[in-house]
């Protein structure tokens, strides 16, 4: 059971929503679509669901062409950011509704409704109306409805975006468990890198209507193929440093230079973009070959266990995530250290030239 998109694109008028895209989703996988607002996540889901017909390309479901087939004729379930339930029905009837439409027997419906309600922790609320429930419970009800449909394809469009932080955390932990039990293809759209990582599975990063990379989530995170993917899949944002390699020296900033780290000596001379994640910046030197940067501290944010330092490095804004609570004075000069094995090197057009060695080792 697979869903295959070949050369699928979608434009409305002069506006391209999805550039030609190839994607293959396997049954029993969780697939995250990660990208900022209006990067094409919803458009892509609508194409997968059959709510929209692509301008070019084909959509295959278990090898059978379903391009242009109506959503009603496909086995698709969808959950939206808004909590969509039938307000006049009880939770029980809400969950039962898709099965009643399919004409299943009473006993079968009852069994599945109760099982799913148990899984979604809705059993005590079965006789209540959706509007009497909390936001989290309403969304659980919508999820339950999508699950009982036993659809081969379950599309979740930012389902947790309207929930409180802690509720989101709880449901986020539950969703992979639910999904493991179902065996369907799950597609989950989100704007938050952390959510993608917590859900695991595969991730497709989207940027301006293009899928920039698709693969197992940790691998997309650690081995981005270009700067755009790295930027989309980083929260706080990835830091970038423009460097110029000339012979055995790297020059950057306002005339600073450093010897070329061992792994990068093979690069041809020229301009590059070095990218590194905030959590890899350090205030103390841990490795002997660490690169040192002189920065100025702009803002600090303390989370209780960690400190975000916002730095100015010769006009470039960096964020560092430092372990522990750091008491620092705003405006002070701050030397920061970076282990070269945590650095990605991109060409000036954004393509990856040299991956971060630590990720290759992992």
């Amino acid at each position: 059971m697979t869903l295959t998109l070949t050369n699928v694109s979608k434009a409305v008028g002069a506006h391209t929503h999805i550039h030609p895209t190839d994607l293959e989703l396997q049954s029993g996988t969780m697939n995250v679509l990660l990208g900022p607002t209006s990067s094409g996540k919803t458009s892509l889901m609508r194409l997968m669901a059959g709510l929209d017909v692509p301008n070019t390309g084909q959509i295959l479901w278990r090898g059978e062409d379903v391009t242009g087939q109506r959503v009603q004729d496909r086995k698709v379930a969808m959950v939206y950011q808004q909590f969509i339930n039938y307000p006049s029905m009880t939770v029980y009837d809400n969950i039962a509704s898709p099965m009643r439409l399919m004409g299943q027997s009473r006993d079968e419906i009852d069994n599945r409704v109760r099982d799913t309600a148990e899984l979604m922790q809705l059993t005590p609320m079965l006789d209540r109306k959706p509007l009497e429930l909390s936001g989290g419970q309403q969304q659980r009800c919508a999820l339950a409805r999508a699950l009982v449909k036993n659809a081969g394809l379950v599309l979740l469009d930012e389902p947790l975006a309207n929930l409180d932080y802690k509720l989101r955390e709880e449901l986020r932990a539950e969703i992979p468990k639910i999904f493991e039990a179902s065996g369907s293809i799950f597609v989950y759209a989100t704007t938050e890198p952390e959510e993608a990582l917590l859900l695991g599975g595969n991730t497709a990063t989207l940027w301006e209507g293009r899928v920039t990379q698709f693969g197992p989530t940790p691998s997309v995170y650690r081995k981005p193929v270009d700067a755009t993917t790295a930027r989309v899949f980083s929260d706080p944002p990835m830091n970038f440093l423009t460097v110029r390699k000339g012979g055995n020296a790297l020059s950057f900033g306002d005339g600073q230079s450093a010897p070329v780290p061992a792994g990068l000596t093979a690069l041809s001379d020229g301009a590059y973009m070095a990218g590194f994640r905030p959590n890899h910046l350090e205030l103390h030197q841990h490795v002997s070959n660490a690169m040192t940067f002189e920065t100025q501290l702009v803002v600090t944010e303390i989370t209780g266990s960690e400190t975000f330092v916002h730095l100015d490095h010769h006009g470039e804004r960096w964020v560092g995530l430092i372990h522990g609570v750091q008491q620092l004075t705003l405006g002070q000069k701050l030397p920061v250290y970076l282990d070269p094995s945590h650095v990605y090197v991109f060409a000036t057009d954004g393509t990856l030239v040299s991956p971060a060695p630590y990720a290759e080792a992992a």
């Binding site: 909390s134 409180d164 932080y165 802690k166 704007t191 989530t217 944010e301 989370t303 209780g304």
Partner: protein
Amino acid sequence: MAKITLDNLAHSYLDTPKSEDDYALKELNHDWADGEAYALLGSSGCGKSTLLNIISGLLQPSEGRVLFNDMDVTHAPTADRNIAQVFQFPVVYDTMSVRDNLAFPLRNRGAEPSYIAQRVTEIARMIGMEAELDRKARGLTADAKQKISLGRGMVREDVNALLFDEPLTVIDPHMKWELRTQLKSLHHDFGHTMIYVTHDQTEALTFADKVVVMYDGRVVQMGTPQELFERPAHTFVGYFIGSPGMNLLDAEISGRTANIDGTQIDLGSGYEAAPGKTQIGIRPEFVHLSTNGEGLPARVRRVEDVGRHKIVRLDVAGKELSAIVSEEGGIPTDANHVTFDAGHINVYANDWRIAPSGKAA
């Protein structure tokens, strides 16, 4: 700018509240210092919005007083309180230009045109919207609109306090960073008293000097982010702050040791015997996997790789326990026990933290 005093403040949406349960906001006594940044943190329905509306004057409290710089404003209308507020969804005057939006509060108060022009330019520079000054507000993105709301609040130099009601709800994650740091530097540069309501712990902790954690209409703890992280006064704070939250294990406490399912754990300091249900709380950051049989028996159930670290979900004494392991730290396949950093264990009796003996709570 002002100091804000909440004096015996309580509020019920009912006309004749009968029991404490009828109060959306239970009795509060607080002094909020001039120029500090406060965050009101809690889940929906905890009373944080009620409190904010009382401070802004949109709601009259059923009991108690609100004072700005020792002046009673409990019944003063919003317009007279000299406050500014940024709402959950951006509120801008669509048909006006960005410039007119920023100038609006000053014009309404009859300020000099030259002064208005100078202030508007200054604010536009602060919020980074100089280039868009002459555009209509209607076509702008949500984060630009939120910046205008913020700018409209800051344009008056005499505001007593800036209030924020979940202002980043509709903002994309990467823009959240930008807006938050901008807010933070504005606070640093101008020293407004700021009150920020949110359900998002990251926003609250990173923004505020002092975080006010609310639960069921009550303030359960007020403290710096570090205090909330290291010494949660209530199990709710332990759960609510931190991601994942604090692990709680039922334990019998006697002196320096806790007994969990027959295993003795060193607490680092001694405790008096406490009545009721006793638990120890340990943050996932201070839980370590061990292979040498030391500590509590545990079984690894799942490992979640969240990028900068890994979350290990374990079974300990029939309960789920989380541990955080660094990005490059390995997880031994034969890990079968967990140990805790003694200095970071907190002890709770009936959900409230108890201090080690000989020390104040």
